[in-house]
Symmetry: C2
Subunit: 198 residues, 2 copies
């Protein structure tokens, strides 16, 4: 990766990119970009990094589609990920899920408040859900769901349409079964004085 | 866990439950249940197993909320998971994501066609998205999104409402940035004769 103007080479490693970050974090502080809506982005290199990771996944290592993402906190990358669906036989290993898991491990918390996600593509519902559970502050994405359908036949857009239907009417029908038994567990949970919440 | 009538004890282990399955799979073939809509379920013990795993997560091991799930193929459990968000500082480790990842590893494919997911609660958007990417055939859930909001203050239902809004108007705003740069990667991807797809 050429890190903005300085062209320093950065080696991406999904779960252990710490060695690259000292340089990248310093370098990013010098950069400013303005997006199409006129918003000031002092962190253009973060999106460059996400797009670079999308290249690694789809073109270089061929681990999955062209999807990459980074999680940024206080101007520093704290997590990185790229699509590993094919390489790891894991349908959940999207770029954003990888970056969120990486950041959570590094920061030692499942909550990423104060963090911004930069992702090479508009998050699919799974990854958007991950952002909500992780309490991410804000998301910047590059390609749209329409773009990845056009160029890669990925169905992110279709899935969003599916989710607007009642569960039983979707292409994957979801049906209620044995509700009472499961509610009993929650009733016990509700009585725990020190029950977990997140 | 008491496996339906026979009461054989089964020890749940999220990523390595193989040793339990020989018994459970044989036993399940003998069981029949009918759900509230009158649908025949020859696999009631699969949902019992998912509910048992929800108990492990929320009440016994306290690894997270009361959420458990199993993936079933041809009448056999091929993946199990329960909520590990708190224990592993991983906001993506829901019961369903865990079960899908487990099944994918065991079957050696990111595609779970022919599989049914039994989950103790209606999947959140993240887990529903995981089901779509994994190409799950059908989902049975026990508690509803309303139930887990009432009993555990989990916001699955709110997240579904959020997803119906335009990306920039959500509680986590998602904004487009540097689209052209990312599209270039997809254009290169489109020219690969052996590009991956899933």
């Amino acid at each position: 990766m050429a890190c903005c103007d300085c062209k320093v080479d950065l080696i991406p490693r999904t779960a252990s990119a710490v060695t690259n970050l000292a340089h990248l974090n310093e370098c990013c502080k010098r950069s400013e970009d303005v997006d199409t809506s006129g918003i000031q982005h002092p962190h253009g290199p973060f999106m460059e990094r996400a797009i670079y990771l999308s290249r690694v996944a789809g073109l270089e290592k061929r681990t999955g589609g062209c999807f990459g993402a980074v999680v940024v906190k206080n101007g520093k990358i704290v997590g990185e990920g790229y699509n590993n669906v094919i390489s790891h036989n894991d349908p959940t290993w999207h770029g954003e899920v990888g970056a969120i898991r990486d950041a959570s491990q590094r920061l030692g918390t499942p909550h990423l408040k104060g963090c911004v996600l930069y992702t090479s593509s508009e998050p699919c519902p799974m990854c958007m859900g991950a952002c909500y559970w992780a309490r991410i502050d804000k998301i910047y994405y590059a390609t749209t769901a329409k773009d990845v359908k056009e160029h890669g036949r990925f169905e992110d857009e279709d899935f969003y349409e599916e989710f607007a239907k009642p569960p039983a009417d979707r292409n994957i029908p979801a049906l209620e079964f044995m509700r009472e038994e499961a509610v009993k567990v929650w009733e016990e949970f509700g009585q725990l004085p020190d029950r977990c919440h997140y």
